[in-house]
């Protein structure tokens, strides 16, 4: 089963390597990992997408919680949640037909073209992993020059929050 684990940790050097090291040392899978400081710059928020049996996910959350730098943690896939990933994709766009086709597909997927040259477009697209996958599927593979994906960011719906002042 795929799980999204959100955690708040001290924004200190080496904190990321403690998390990454834990996953490799214990043989857990990481599908994606994103990290950035929060509104409080002394804290970082990390989103880890992982998969495994219920037992393994339980161990992962316990082991992460055990890290001295980790302040708070939640498996947001346990409840209603929203997840988004950002993708930047550079595609070849040389002739008129190619350019209009790319524009049309970008519109359908509610993306934006954010860089244009004589021969290329850079398209920005946000959504679930499935949506980004679908966009890649939809365009001709030969036209893709480069894709950059941010990894998943996730947040619980409603009143639930991982902030330090709430439960």
């Amino acid at each position: 089963m795929r799980h999204i684990i959100s955690l708040i940790m001290e924004n200190e050097s080496g904190a990321l390597s403690r998390v990454a090291g834990l996953f490799s040392a214990r043989g857990y899978n990481i599908e994606s990992l994103t990290v950035a400081p929060t509104e409080d710059p002394s804290l970082s928020r990390m989103t880890i997408v992982t998969f495994g049996s219920e037992e393994i996910i339980e161990q992962i959350t316990k082991q992460l919680n055990k890290l001295v730098d980790v302040v708070k943690l939640a498996d947001i896939t346990e409840g209603n949640h929203i997840e988004r990933e950002l993708m930047l994709i550079k595609v070849r766009a040389t002739d008129a037909q190619q350019r209009s086709e790319m524009k049309r597909l970008t519109d359908i997927f509610r993306g934006r073209i954010i860089d244009v040259t004589d021969t290329t477009y850079v398209i920005e697209l946000t959504g679930t992993c499935e949506k980004l996958d679908a966009f890649i599927e939809a365009i001709d593979n030969d036209n893709i020059m480069e894709t950059v994906r941010s990894g998943v960011s996730g947040i619980a719906r409603g009143e639930k929050s991982l902030g330090l002042n709430t439960n």
Partner: protein, 572 residues
């Protein structure tokens, strides 16, 4: 008061109440060594190899319950310390290891004696720090001691670049009395609902079993455990790390469990209907095949580390908390509960256990003309009255010490259970002897293990730590030989110790006393003589039966009821 970084380190250690620092100087820690030189409160023990420093500090910690402190230089000083750090980590021993680091500006430049100590130690520490400002030294060290000694204890590394301890840079110093960390708050008190449920299950048991581990010793919960066990009248087994947590001489004690545990302990585990795991972590050497582990039992697990719960074996009632606190809460619940112990069922259960005991599973040939290693341990136990601090190395001798020395109280059995580090015995004995200068300290070892930290004989001479070394010399890496006999058709691949030194002369060359004992009849006299020499380290080289194996034995991955009792008495 304003102090430089080096003086802050030493002043802090003094304010923290640190008695001994085990270490070895080198470039990156020279400022700190200079600060040590100027005072006499914090005593420094110069080892002969950094691995010895960590084991000695570890032995001190295990013998006292207080954190052991290590000071080593950067690069090779830090890497040599890693084995000892990992040893402490696996057994949850509180330690603070101060490693020197190259000056901040050189970090990452492959400078002389530079190694990423924080990176290298990360997988085998509870936590580690790189100090970036002299003004953060005191608070960082305070956090290190706090983290090392609270919750599930463990080693903490504090890496200090040389410029941080520069004598010319002074910063204000005040001993930080308190520490609070928003990200680190171990749970101490067990959930009352869980405690209540556990008490009811415990009282409803027909065939109960208490299985206690090193957590009892780390938590100082031996009195509560004795009270709990004796109030109920239930049988109790200890893990290798838990020995001494319950008196080994008591009739309710059924011996150690696991791979080389007693027949009665393992059979009782297999047949019990309620298992009460107290500060134990279901290690593979204890459980054997987890699929067939306690197949009939409901399991209660008390542990301070939530990640230990349901890691290897699913449990029915987990209680996260400090064992001492939870046991005393449980005792309260049991006293006030309307449910009472089922005396009839318990009587029948004890009948069955006594029948298993009747097998006398630790029996060995007492008529041999060769010295039997078990006999040496029995005599050690008799002569020291069960009061000695006993350290061990790793292998057959470790198992015999665990089986035949009946530990009466905690902190007395000091061995590397989790990591299984050869070379642990002698330096940890030095640490234990420094902690308890008036007590008998014995290091049970073998001719293979002792050579892994033999250089510490020199440390023992310098600081007059008269421990007694009992080497069960069978001219083999005994446990390796045993596995090769059982599982590799007696192909003894590189397990034979050729070109052994003359240990008597070796001991003498360090200024100690050496004795070689070759006949069973001389064993007792030699041990008595050694312990009578209160101020001398004595190296007893027992030439033992080289074919002796450790029994009972459960092969790796087998169930508790599949035990070999001896070469003649096969599957139970």
């Amino acid at each position: 008061m304003e102090l430089n970084g080096a003086d802050i380190v030493v002043q802090f250690l003094k304010d923290e109440g640190v008695e001994y620092v085990f270490g070895y100087p080198g470039g990156a820690v020279l400022h700190i060594y200079d600060a040590l030189f100027k005072q006499e409160d914090v005593k420094h023990i110069l080892v002969r190899h950094e691995q010895g420093a960590t084991h000695a500090a570890d032995g001190y910690a295990r013998a006292t319950g207080k954190p052991g402190v290590v000071l080593v230089t950067s690069g090779p000083g830090a890497t040599n310390a890693i084995t000892g750090i990992a040893t402490a980590y696996m057994d949850s021993i509180p330690m603070v290891i101060i490693t020197g680091q190259v000056v901040t500006a050189y970090i990452g430049s492959d400078a002389f004696q530079e190694v990423d100590s924080v990176g290298i130690s990360r997988p085998c520490v509870k936590h580690n720090f790189l100090v970036k400002e002299a003004s953060q030294l005191a608070s960082t060290l305070k956090k290190a001691f706090y983290i090392a000694s609270t919750g599930r204890p463990g080693p903490v590394v504090v890496d200090i670049p040389k410029d941080i301890t520069d004598p010319s840079i002074k910063v204000p110093y005040e001993y930080p009395k308190d520490v609070s960390m928003r990200s680190y708050n171990p749970t101490v008190k067990g959930h009352p609902g869980q405690v209540k449920r556990a008490a009811e299950l415990i009282l409803s048991a027909k065939r109960p079993m208490i299985y206690s581990g090193g957590g009892v010793i780390l938590s100082g919960a031996d009195k509560e455990l004795i009270d709990f066990t004796q109030k109920l009248g239930y049988p109790i087994t200890n893990t290798l790390m838990g020995l001494g947590g319950y008196p080994g001489t008591d009739k309710q004690f059924v011996g150690m469990l696991g791979m080389h545990g007693t027949y009665e302990a393992n059979m009782a585990m297999h047949d019990c209907d309620v298992l009460i795991a107290v500060g134990a972590r279901f290690d593979d050497r204890v459980t054997g095949d987890v699929k067939h582990f306690c197949p009939h039992a409901k399991i209660i697990h008390i542990d301070i580390d939530p990640s230990s719960i349901s890691k290897n074996v699913r449990v029915d009632i987990p209680i996260v908390g400090d064992v001492k606190q939870v046991l005393s809460d449980l005792i309260g619940e049991i006293k006030s509960s309307k449910t009472k112990v089922d005396k009839d069922a318990l009587g029948k259960w004890w009948q069955q256990i006594d029948e298993w005991r009747g097998k006398d599973c630790l029996r060995y040939n007492r008529d041999s003309e060769l010295i039997k290693p078990q006999y040496v341990i029995e005599k050690l136990y008799e002569i020291t009255g069960g009061d000695a601090y006993v350290t061990s190395d790793v292998g057959q001798h470790q198992m015999w010490a665990a089986q035949f020395y009946k530990f009466k109280s905690p902190y007395h059995w000091i061995n590397s259970g989790g990591l299984g580090t050869m070379g642990f015995g002698l330096p940890s004995a030095i640490g234990a002897k420094l902690a308890h200068p008036d007590a008998d300290v014995a290091c049970v070892t073998g001719e293979a293990s002792i050579q892994m930290c033999i250089q510490e004989l020199s440390t023992a001479m310098q600081y007059m730590t008269p421990v007694k070394i009992l080497s069960l010399n069978n001219r083999y890496m005994g446990m390796v030989r045993q596995w090769q006999e059982f599982f590799y058709e007696s192909r003894y691949s590189h397990s034979y110790m050729e070109a052994l030194p003359d240990f008597v002369k070796l001991a003498e060359s360090y200024g100690h006393v050496g004795m070689r004992i070759e006949k069973p009849g001389d064993v007792e006299g030699a041990i008595r003589e050694a312990f009578a020499m209160k101020d001398r380290l004595v190296f007893l080289d027992f030439i033992t039966d080289k074919t002796e194996n450790v029994y009972p034995m459960i092969a790796a991955g087998k169930a508790h009821n599949q035990m070999h009792l001896s070469s003649e008495r096969d599957l139970a």
